[in-house]
Every structure is written in structure tokens, then in C-alpha cells.
């Protein structure tokens, strides 16, 4: 399984856009998780009287209205945004694979029940669903935000997985595995899902972009990641009054969001192309 996923990755990297996306993601991740050791200590007492300083020596991205280094905040906000997105997508993909696997393998009433549920969930816009949840649960901790983003992100994946499993369960190797004494759990986890790993990886990659945008949107609305924990969306919210006077305070986190989402989508598209050359 690792072998076929590896081949898929390598094939995705043969396209220029896939390569570009992968390089940006690698650099961004590296930067966001390594840079804190190289940058000014964000907890250093800021000079409140200095206000927002434009980009220049000492503060390449400038400082915000509280004189905090914007670069440092973009970096630590990136840790939060990327971690939230990564974990939420991991959860979403796991749920999607399990639900899709069960529905596709067993079929019948279980399939109908699960898929009607998914149909219903897909009919409600995700942002609306999230707003509803967040409205009910006001002081949502970060872990819960991950759970909520994950729990609302698996619907499309479950459909993809179900479709593939439906096709694969008639394959002779499934019959062969059954003839060798494999039970349903083993068939689904060991034989069917690994064969769907490619489409799942594509869905996951594209899902990361969605979740970063969603989280930024929620944080911008003040209901995602709560201050003082920095996040890209939250930084733009903080910077709103300074949009004309100190635009760097919102431009840099905005650029970070745009670059990350663009890179993730480039890679996701390249993976999809590698998986099915006809769709590229």
C-alpha cells in the first residue's frame, strides 16, 4: 500500500504545478515549525507606545498596533492553522473512509441509511453548520474546533470511498481473501481501503485547503481560534481597523493563507491528475 501511494506521489510530482505546490508546502511547513527558534521572541515585552511599525530592519513584516512582530505572529499563527487543518482533515478522512467502507461493503439498508444521512448533511452548507455549532458552544477550545471541523468534513470523502468500495468488493481478490478465511473487518481494512488510498489522499489534500480557509473565516468572525492564540484569520480580524494606516498587518497573514491554500490545491490537483490521467 505504501508502495502504490508512493508511486502516486512521485507521479504527481512530475507535473510542474504539483512540484510547485509540494515545494511551497514543504518550505511553509518547515518555516512555520522551525522559524520560531530564529525569530524575535514574540513574548518579549512590546513597546506599546511605538505602535505599528512598517516593515524594515528588525521587523521584516513590520509590527502590529501592539508593536508585536508580524512575522513571528504569522509563524505561530501558521503552526495553529496548519495543525488544526491537518488534524481536522485526518479525522475527516478517517471518518469518511470508515463510513464509506461500511456502506459500500455491506450495502442494503446500512448503505441507504448512511448515504441518506450524508445527503442530508451535504444539503446544509458547512459554514452554516459550523456557525450553528459554534453559536451553541461559545467558548470552544482548540481541540473541539478540530473535532467540529473534522466531523463536518467527511461527507464527500465517504461518498468517494463508498463508490470505490462498491466497485472493488466484486473483485476476485476479495473473493480470494474470503476463501482464505478473512472476515468482513479484515476485508474492509486490509483489502478494500488500501485500494482506495489514492482517491482518499486526493480528497485529503484538497480538504486541507478548504479547512484552512474555513478556519480563517471562522477566526475572522471571531469564533474560530480565540485570541490570544494567534491564527491567520484572527490576525486579519485584529488588523481590520489598520487596513488603511498599516496594511502590512493584514497583507502578510492574508498572503500566508492564499499561498498555503494555493499550494495545497496545486498539489491536490496534481495528485488527482496522477490518479486518473483522464481528469487532468
Amino acid at each position: 500500500m505504501t508502495g502504490s501511494l508512493w508511486r502516486l506521489m512521485l507521479r504527481a510530482l512530475t507535473s510542474p504545478s504539483g512540484r510547485l505546490g509540494a515545494v511551497i508546502i514543504a518550505l511553509l511547513t518547515l518555516f512555520v515549525f522551525v522559524a520560531p527558534w530564529l525569530l524575535p521572541d514574540p513574548s518579549a515585552m512590546p513597546d506599546l507606545m511605538a505602535g505599528a511599525v512598517p516593515p524594515g530592519a528588525g521587523h521584516p513584516f513590520g509590527t502590529d498596533q501592539l508593536n508585536r512582530d508580524v512575522l513571528s505572529r504569522v509563524v505561530s499563527g501558521g503552526q495553529i492553522s496548519l495543525s488544526v487543518a491537518g488534524l481536522a482533515v485526518l479525522l475527516a478522512v478517517t471518518l469518511g473512509a470508515l463510513v464509506g467502507g461500511l456502506a459500500g461493503f455491506y450495502g442494503g439498508w446500512l448503505d441507504s441509511a448512511l448515504m441518506r444521512m450524508v445527503d442530508g448533511a451535504l444539503a446544509i452548507p458547512r459554514l452554516f453548520l459550523l456557525l450553528l455549532l459554534v453559536a451553541v458552544w461559545e467558548q470552544m477550545p482548540l481541540g473541539a474546533l478540530v473535532l467540529v471541523l473534522g466531523a463536518t468534513g467527511w461527507f464527500a470523502t465517504s461518498r468517494i470511498v463508498r463508490g470505490e468500495v462498491l466497485r472493488l468488493r466484486e473483485a476476485e481478490f476479495v473473493l480470494a481473501a474470503t476463501a482464505l478465511g478473512a472476515g468482513p473487518g479484515r476485508i474492509i481494512l486490509r483489502h478494500l481501503l488500501p485500494n482506495v488510498a489514492g482517491p482518499i489522499l486526493v480528497a485529503a489534500t484538497l480538504g486541507v485547503g478548504d479547512v484552512i480557509l474555513l478556519e480563517a473565516g471562522l477566526s475572522y468572525l471571531g469564533i474560530g481560534v480565540r485570541p490570544p492564540t494567534p491564527s491567520w484569520g484572527g490576525m486579519i480580524l485584529d488588523a481590520r481597523p489598520l487596513l488603511t494606516t498599516a496594511p502590512w498587518t493584514s497583507i502578510f497573514p492574508g498572503l500566508a493563507i492564499a499561498t498555503t491554500v494555493l499550494a495545497v490545491n496545486l498539489l491536490g490537483d496534481a495528485l488527482r491528475g496522477a490518479l486518473d490521467p483522464r481528469s487532468a
Binding site: A171, A176, A179, L180, G181, A182, G183, N195
Partner: protein
């Protein structure tokens, strides 16, 4: 001594829009330990379904009818719960399929797949399973087995894949191997090698083999006994030499006449006229009578039972009674 496997009056039905289909309709046979029984018949005669039924793998909505019995070493296979059934599948009866291209999981290496089979039935470490996989690859005659452990199925030829399938089936040292058309998808030269391998394994391991095939030609030198199936039933059963020397049922004769021979005078092949009838509407009387060149008037109305024609040689044909076989 009781036979290893006994099948008695096996009936399988499928509900269809055109009424109930009876693709397997009263099949009885037995396989002794270490014996190679060939089940021969044309497409659609029910031979594959019979083999699937032995492990209760009949695809839904197909059903094995009450009154059927399958006994493995005296254990009633049809009465087993899911857990007990799994301990028979693979563990006591292994099975290989027609198309080695699709019966291996495309995303796992050979070592993974054989190892999984090893570990499914024995509690051993991954390392030990890998070592066992290597032994099995050697046993099934794969050249350069160390190199082959880490390749994927698509990197192997059809014959090699069928050998891997056999290795997987052998992993748990089953007492019986069901081979459902194991050579149909392979080149003629490879076919012979695979059959040779199966025959050799049977001898080396004392494992019974049920060989399902449509090709009487490949049965000749290898099977101990042959059972010929037609329209959901066994029509003739005999030791291989006896069957080839004295084919008695008109259908068997027809099958033999339609196999090209390399020796002897060049004659035209004689195909059997017509096709196998649909399992929703078997003909009344003997099921072969509409295609039978030797049909008697009573064949159209009376269904012949299995009648003896010689030593351990039986057929379902009125000619046996008339002494004209």
C-alpha cells in the same frame, strides 16, 4: 475410511425475474484424502458454483437448499457459524481462482500477501511470516524467490501470479485445495507447468485437490477420478483411465470428440449440437436428451438416476440400463 469431503444432493437456487434458477441441482460426490478429483463440464454447467458452495461462498442471492449436505471430515459445513466457517476457509480448504491477474490484491507486495495468509492462521511474527513466504515461493517453483518477495502483482507474469496464489493457499497447509479453472487464463505451456505443480504438491503434501475445468484434455494424466457435470448435475463419474477408455454417457463422448487430438488420424472435430439449456428451465426427463444423438423415447419423460456401468463407474443415462453403454 471416510472420505475427506462428501457432498450430498447439493442444490443451489437463485431467484430471478424468470422464475427460480437451479444452476446446481442435486450434485453428490466425494473426495478422498490425497485424491485429485477433476470436475469437468462446459460453461454454465454449475461446476464453479459447486466449488464455491464447498466454502459457502455462493454469491447472494444464491442459496444452498435445505437437504443439501457438505461434510468435511464428518463436520457439517453447512451448519457452521461464521467463526467456525472462517477456520475452515483457507485453514483446511484452500482455494485458487481462474484469473491470477485479478485474484491478487494489486496494492500489496507478494511477501505481504503470502505473509497475511500465514498470519491469518498462525500466530507468528512478521519476520517469521516473511521467512515462511520465501519457503512457499520456493515450494511453488518461483525462480529467484528472494527477489520476488518485494514486487507487486502487476510486475509478475500470469503464470507466476498463479504460483503466488497457490503459495497463498498453501500457507496454512490445507488438507484440500480447490482449483477453479486454475489454468484457463494462462498460456498452454504455462498451463502444463501449473498442473504439474498442483500434482506434485498433492503428492508431496498428501493434499486432496478438486480441479474444476472445462478441458478434459488437461485431466488425462493427472486426475485420479473424473466427474463430468452437465446442466447442474453429475452425469458420469469414473476413474480417469476408465473414463477415457470407456466413456459411456453420450455427453462425455461428445466432449471427448470435441477435444482435438494430436495422435491418430486427422478427423474433423465433432461439436456437441446445441447449447446448455438455461438453469431456469431444465428440460424434462434427461437434461441432455434434446442434444443427445442416442436419445430414447423415454429420455424425454423419465429422468435417469445414477446407474452403474462398471467398477466405480456410474452415469445418469438410460443407456446403462439398456446395457448398450
Amino acid at each position: 475410511m471416510t472420505p475427506l469431503l462428501e457432498v450430498e444432493d447439493l442444490r443451489i437456487t437463485f431467484p430471478t425475474r424468470h422464475g427460480t434458477s437451479h444452476p446446481v441441482d442435486g450434485v453428490s460426490f466425494s473426495v478422498a484424502r490425497g485424491e485429485l478429483l477433476a470436475l469437468v463440464g462446459e460453461s454454465g454447467c454449475g461446476k464453479s458454483l459447486t466449488s464455491l458452495a464447498l466454502l459457502r461462498l455462493v454469491p447472494p442471492p444464491g442459496q444452498i437448499q435445505p437437504g443439501s449436505a457438505i461434510r468435511l471430515d464428518g463436520t457439517d459445513v453447512l451448519g457452521l457459524g461464521p467463526e467456525e466457517l472462517r477456520s475452515i476457509r483457507g485453514r483446511r480448504i484452500g482455494m485458487i481462482f481462474q484469473d491470477p491477474m485479478t485474484s491478487l490484491n494489486p496494492v500489496f507486495t507478494i511477501a505481504d500477501q503470502i505473509g497475511e495468509s500465514v498470519r491469518a492462521h498462525q500466530k507468528v511474527s512478521k519476520r517469521a511470516a516473511r521467512a515462511r513466504a520465501l519457503e512457499l515461493l520456493q515450494e511453488v517453483g518461483i525462480p529467484d524467490p528472494t527477489q520476488r518477495l518485494d514486487v507487486y502483482p502487476h510486475q509478475m507474469s500470469g503464470g507466476m501470479r498463479q504460483r503466488v496464489m497457490i503459495a497463498i493457499a498453501l500457507a496454512s497447509e490445507p488438507e484440500m485445495l480447490i482449483a477453479d479453472e486454475p489454468t484457463t487464463a494462462l498460456d498452454v505451456t504455462v498451463q502444463a507447468q501449473i498442473l504439474e505443480l498442483l500434482d506434485g504438491l498433492r503428492a508431496a503434501r498428501g493434499m486432496a485437490v478438486l480441479l474444476i475445468t472445462h478441458d478434459l484434455g488437461i485431466v488425462a494424466g493427472r486426475a485420479d477420478r473424473v466427474a463430468v457435470m452437465y446442466a447442474g448435475r453429475l452425469v458420469e463419474e469414473a476413474a480417469t483411465a476408465e473414463l477415457f477408455a470407456r466413456p459411456s454417457h453420450p455427453y462425455t463422448k461428445g466432449l471427448l470428440a470435441s477435444v482435438p487430438r494430436i495422435t491418430g488420424a486427422v478427423t474433423r472435430l465433432t461439436p456437441i449440437a446445441g447449447t446448455v439449456p438455461a438453469p431456469t428451465a431444465w428440460p424434462a426427463g434427461c437434461r441432455f436428451h434434446p442434444r443427445c444423438p442416442a436419445a430414447l423415447p423415454r429420455c424425454a419423460t423419465d429422468d435417469p438416476p445414477a446407474l452403474p456401468v462398471g467398477n466405480a463407474h456410474r452415469m445418469r443415462c438410460w443407456l446403462a440400463e439398456a446395457g448398450r453403454a
